[in-house]
């Protein structure tokens, strides 16, 4: 097991290398020459020189890349063009807020999806099955940023039930687990959970349905096991597949919250990314993308390992 984990980790090294290459390339994707893409037009020569030196723009591309990689690996992500603060600090504080929101959305989406998916798979009536399938489809078909706006208008503006923006009440710093902060989380969490809810419900439903059609279930029934015991077996068998999808969805939530965070002014990585794009703050864009991609890779690895632990039958090459 440990050996497998280690092998997977080593295998990640070339991928991580490629990821860093792609992130590095972001600056050079910008139209025009790189320096004018990064530096504000009215920046004084000192700032231009500092940035030119940081990126090493006068050197050939491979040299630029390795310089950048070495500096980045030492934890220095550069300085934000917009604010002059270190990128690592900016991304660090925003990352925590995004994780909080993603955890909320995961809890909501996964719980509901398991209940709905199992119910649909077990349902004798086609209506329940069709209904759940349809609800799941709505989850993946509705533009979630649009849903977010509708939620704000209905629940914040018209009914005044929930706050429409921000992380928490004005007098607090950082995030705390209390009523006021939870209230701020409700609407963004709902909007963010739609896609994973839809995807996972479909997965749970089809996986369980498939298992229910397998012979061993009939055998268990013949053995005289009661329904609850059988359900346990079924869920256990469905777990690896569902876990894989959950892991991916959790990762997508973290990378995909930009639209939702923008609508709710939630100070996470998505909000940061949006303002970075708006201000053409490429160091922030690079830093955020790199951190999120790295996190996503680690998450996938973890899910992969857990999956193998849950289901040792899976052989991996």
């Amino acid at each position: 097991m440990l050996l497998y984990a280690l092998r997977r980790l080593i295998y990640l090294v070339p991928v991580a290398f490629g990821v860093s290459l792609l992130v590095f390339a972001l600056v050079h994707l910008a139209p025009g020459d790189a320096i004018s893409a990064i530096v504000p037009p009215d920046a004084p020569q000192e700032v231009v020189d500092k940035i030119r030196q940081y990126y090493g723009f006068d050197k050939p591309l491979p040299v630029q890349y390795f310089r950048w990689l070495v500096v980045t690996l030492s934890g220095d992500f550069g300085t934000s063009i917009g604010t002059g603060r270190p990128v690592a600090e900016e991304v660090g504080s925003a990352f925590g807020n995004t994780i909080i929101l993603a955890i909320g959305a995961c809890i909501l989406a996964f719980t509901l999806a398991i209940i709905l998916g199992t119910a649909a798979a077990y349902a004798r009536s086609r209506i329940v099955d069709r209904l759940v399938t349809f609800v799941a489809l709505i989850g993946v078909s509705v533009p979630n940023f649009w849903l977010a706006i509708v939620l704000v208008i209905v629940f914040s503006v018209e009914f005044g039930l929930l706050p429409p923006m921000g992380l928490g009440p004005d007098n607090a710093t950082g995030w705390h687990l209390d009523g006021a902060h939870i209230a701020h989380m409700v609407l963004p969490t709902i909007a963010l959970s739609m896609i994973p809810l839809g995807v996972l419900t479909r997965t749970v439903r089809s996986t369980i349905k498939e298992i229910l059609n397998m012979e061993f279930v009939t055998a268990l029934q013949a053995k005289g096991m009661n329904d609850r015991q059988i359900l346990f077996h079924v869920l256990k068998n469905a777990a690896p597949t569902c876990l894989a999808v959950m892991g991916l969805q959790a990762g997508n939530l973290i990378g995909g919250s930009i639209l939702i965070e923008t609508v709710f002014a939630w100070p996470g990585t998505g909000f940061l990314l949006n303002s970075a794009i708006f201000r053409r703050d490429l160091p922030i864009l690079q830093g955020t993308t790199l951190v999120l991609a790295f996190f996503f890779m680690m998450l996938n690895l973890t899910v992969d390992i857990i999956q193998t632990m849950v289901d040792p039958r899976i052989k991996r090459g």
Binding site: L137, S141, G256, L292
Partner: protein
């Protein structure tokens, strides 16, 4: 290993090639099954209607989708001269919604088609050739997989700047890896089947083997998968427009219309919701059609 897609997954080992399925009888069977599936039929009809009307928009005698009128701005739905009302510049909503279908569908379909071509080619090559080539192609794909899809699309178009071309490019790049992976896994399976070996033994040219056996088997599952990606592409493209990274005005496009009508949501909520409804309708139809196709082709999902 789970086959991933931006926000829709095909769970582990879901796409399986069916040996020797590329016969005429198989496709007839698929067609028969589809004909008996009312939901897929309805969805295809709706989609056909949307596509046909947007393509034929100039022939439908609609109002000029660019003609503004300040006096008639934000007319409600079902008002005397404007069946679906007017937008914030007094342009006819019905006409704009239909014309917008052109760009929105284009933004949804083009990246998937391009990705299908490139990703499919790469995947089939990787699967068929195997060895070092497979290794190289699939490791490059792994790099793209290390990004959550929305993040990848937004970072790329954020770096390249706003514009329809950049959105298309970013979305294509997002969709190549999942399509490549699906086609690679199917091709690898097909390659292992006896009939391919038999064909090889009988001296058939590699290209013929690829065309007849591999493509015949691979095309079905990948097409099913690609249909569901179109819905993702439409929503992603709309999201980019919403952030100001997509299509530029005054072109009608659903995501952009949603964005510009957002303020009117307080004055005329129904009107402001219409582009959202179009996105939703198109997207859910593509999803349902993908489900129907999958069932008809007996591709397990």
């Amino acid at each position: 290993m789970a086959i991933q897609s931006p926000s829709l997954e095909i769970p582990a080992g879901s796409v399986k090639a069916t040996p020797a399925s590329a016969t005429r009888g198989y496709w007839q069977q698929v067609r028969r099954r589809l004909a008996r599936d009312p939901i897929t039929l309805i969805c295809s009809t709706v989609l056909l209607l949307i596509i046909a009307s947007s393509l034929a928009a100039p022939l439908l005698g609609l109002a000029d989708p660019y003609k503004t009128s300040m006096i008639r701005r934000l007319q409600p739905v079902l008002s005397p001269h404007y069946f679906l009302g007017t937008d914030e510049l007094g342009r006819d909503m019905l006409s704009r919604l239909i014309y917008a279908g052109r760009l929105s569908l284009f933004m949804g379909v083009t990246p998937v088609v391009c990705a299908l071509f490139i990703g499919g080619l790469l995947g089939i090559t990787a699967g068929f050739v195997g060895g070092g080539v497979n290794m190289l192609i699939m490791r490059i794909m792994d790099v793209f997989y290390a990004f959550p899809s929305v993040l990848l699309a937004i970072s790329l178009s954020g770096a390249m700047g706003a514009g329809a071309e950049n959105t298309l490019l970013a979305l294509t790049l997002v969709f190549i890896p999942p399509i490549c992976r699906v086609s690679e896994s199917v091709t690898t399976q097909v390659r292992g089947f006896d009939f391919v070996d038999a064909a090889k033994a009988s001296g058939a040219a590699t290209l013929t083997i690829v065309r007849v056996h591999v493509l015949g088997n691979v095309l079905g599952p990948i097409l099913v998968y690609a249909t569901s990606l179109i819905s993702v592409a439409i929503i992603l493209a709309a999201g980019l427009s919403f952030l100001g990274l997509g299509v530029k005005p005054p072109e009608p496009e659903w995501g952009l219309m949603l964005n510009t009508l957002r303020q009117a949501i307080y004055v005329n909520p129904l009107l402001a919701a219409l582009p959202g409804v179009m996105i939703f309708l198109t997207s859910i139809c593509f999803n349902l059609m993908s489900d129907g196709l999958r069932a008809a082709m007996d591709v397990k999902a």
